[in-house]
Amino acid sequence: MQKTLYLFASGRLRRKDNTVCLESENATKYFPVASLRDIFVFGELDLNKKLFEFMEEQEIVLHFFGYYGNYVGSFYPREHYNSGYVILRQAEHYLDGARRLELARRFVEGALANILQILRYYQNRGKELAGSIESISRLLEGSLPACGRVEELMAVEGNAREYYYESFNVILDKSPFTMPGRSKRPPTDPLNALISFGNSLIYAKILTEIYKTHLDPRIGYLHSTNFRRFTLNLDLAEIFKPVLADRVLFHLLGKKMLDLKDFEQQGGAYLLRERGRRLYVETLEEKLQSTFHHRRLRRNVSYQTLLRLELYKIQKHLMGEQPYKPFVSRW
């Protein structure tokens, strides 16, 4: 089982004795490469080309985050699963308007269905969410099938998210966190900061998984493919943000593991402090490693594996083997 390494410490990251080694002021720490999938870098690291070469050889993806927890970029090593066939199919599905719309619609469907699942969960726990559920269901069943363009899908998704984020106030009543509406770049309140931090981790996580398939992360369907920007991971993240990021968020706030002191204000922006980031990452990792019974495969799979399975489903769709149906959480 491969692990994700989250580096909050600062120092020099280097290849040493054919493994990854972090030399910081007070300690030298080795991390076993054999079970390393990706590295999330939050600290201030010095690293050199030798390390990148080593990472390429070991097929490890590095994701860098800035001082404010913002996503900076990834070291996406040379493709090791090359397939002209899959790339052509990917491009074909992008260029053909009808096919692109079809896939894009599936992503939005998955996203809304998973959002509804979250809301129903809290409704069963006595939260007054019937209104939001009703509105989002109407979008899912009424507006979504009627969309004829990707832009319209985006708009429907945006509307659904608005209802969804409003319902955060209902779910988190009695908590010091309130949702004034979604704000990004920069997030203007603690709750938005938390959402943004979680989402950026999910984007990177999925990118790592894409690296391990034949798919090209630059060709997305819901999100337009433009110059040198990863977009396929953004598409897929729509489905998994409610399942992973938002559940982690509600877990942390519901159990009062985070409070307002874990955030700081810098100018108009709110930031999650390091303690909060560590906690978040730890909880997310626990979630990803946890398993459930997969009905089709008839075995237990972890959420981490689920991400990969979802990509395989897309691959099958592109190759015309089986139409893609997004993962919808049933619990």
Binding site: M1, K3, L5, L7, A9, Y30, A34, E285
Partner: protein, 87 residues
Amino acid sequence: MYVILVYDVNVARVGKVLKRARRYLTWVQNSVLEGELTEASYRALKSDLARVIDTREDSVLFYVLGARKYTRRELMGVQKGGEEWIY
């Protein structure tokens, strides 16, 4: 699988064994490493070590645990090393 590796080898070779083992497992204390491995990397680790040890006088032990569910790990004294994936 979870593997605990302990080794007792000639001083001339401790470095070699340590360096190779560190690619797969986490150092816990002198001559002890442990960690989660796949079947394949466990085999790779063993063949890596077989290449450097002298089977006439060195000894490397692997405790292979299928799952850690029924195990318990207790520490007495100082914690010297160990697994940390959030660092």
